[in-house]
Symmetry: C2
DNA sequence: TTTTATTGATTGACTAGTCAATAAAGAACG
DNA sequence: CGTTCTTTATTGACTAGTCAATCAATAAAA
């Protein structure tokens, strides 16, 4: 009973199921069949809409990045000065939508995927560049020429603590935010050089 | 023509080949056959010595961690005070033996493996705990109660920058050391509260 | 003759991707 | 309005390929 206009619904369901499946399995050896079953359809339909497994994974990655980007925009929208903006950027990475075990596991696996897939590599670079330039833009007025190094360190610490959270199976989370904010304070005080 | 005492030689060759193969393939979907071929033997022999693919991967992981641990020990052995020790620990992670593309790719994949394998998880925790306690032990005399947070941030930044290097395909490397040392300076100056 | 080293061949399981077939929703048409 | 045609949705069954693991067989050392 073909209800028309199913494509966007199916695609969204598959993307969501993919992230859950990666979280459940722990790596990218997820099967199209399992993803499709989790999304309530046959594997043939998944192939029909996405063409292949690679494209399903990339769609899941794009979605994850988009969720993160939206979170950052939302956090930035209520800020008024550079300092607030910096805190908002830092906090955005550790919100509940980005900090669930499934999502963290997916991120980690996207890093691995980027070693094989040119497109995944490109997407990850976009994320990193955007994070860097967001930080840089708001640090520059505060600490001038030291901004670039500071942005690199803050971005690196965000990634590092985020990844560590993927390893730690416990639920307790937001200590990470605290530590990146502490680094921000140190940088603003003239930490490096 | 069975020359006796081949076991340790074969095992070492397989471990080395595994790391190269992970670097070449980019993920843990390396096949036992390919690893064995790279190490100059049949896949049956690899199974004979290791029992299964999982154990080959774990052996490669143990080896990678052991190389890192040895590097740290070596660097620490020529230090005289806490500050030198801290610098040595930071530098050890970014030496050439740890900073080759194959090895970085392997580390990244071991993080993923640790989501499936209890043993991989255990090994990674040992690495992190040792890094943390090494840093903590040498920070405490210098900054007292702030040492724990500082150690977490420095460790997190090491991991973050190391992982980022896995993504960046260019060869240029040791900027990472510089940035972690800059964070160390900031922490010693009283960066975080 | 027992132990160690070694491999070619095979098995058994799994999986990405294809395809033909089914069915309903709308469009075109007289 | 009813009929035919096209498009969209959907799946079970199948293909072709891969790979981990096993095993029986070979051979040299002890």
């Amino acid at each position: 009973m073909p209800k028309l206009g199913m494509e966007p619904i199916r695609r969204a369901a598959l993307v969501k199921a993919t992230i859950h499946e990666i979280g459940a399995v722990g790596n990218l050896d997820v099967t199209v069949s399992k993803i499709a079953k989790r999304a309530g359809m046959s594997s043939a339909l998944a192939h029909h809409y996405f063409g292949g497994k690679d494209q399903i994974l990339l769609a899941a990655m794009r979605h994850t990045l988009a969720v993160y980007a939206a979170e950052v925009r939302r956090a930035l929208s209520v800020t008024t000065d550079h300092h607030e903006r910096l805190e908002a950027i830092i906090r955005a990475g550790f919100t509940s939508s980005n900090f669930q075990p499934d999502v963290i596991a997916a991120w980690l696996n996207f890093y691995v995927l980027s070693q094989n897939s040119e497109e995944a590599h490109r997407l990850l670079r976009i994320y990193q560049r955007r994070l860097h330039s967001n930080l840089l833009y708001n640090l520059r007025p505060l600490i001038g020429s030291r901004a670039n190094g500071a942005a690199l360190r803050i971005g690196g610490l965000i990634d590092g603590l985020y990844m560590r959270q993927g390893l730690a199976r416990d639920r307790g989370g937001s200590a990470a935010t605290k530590h990146v904010l502490a680094l921000l304070r140190a940088e603003l005080r003239g930490g490096a050089q």
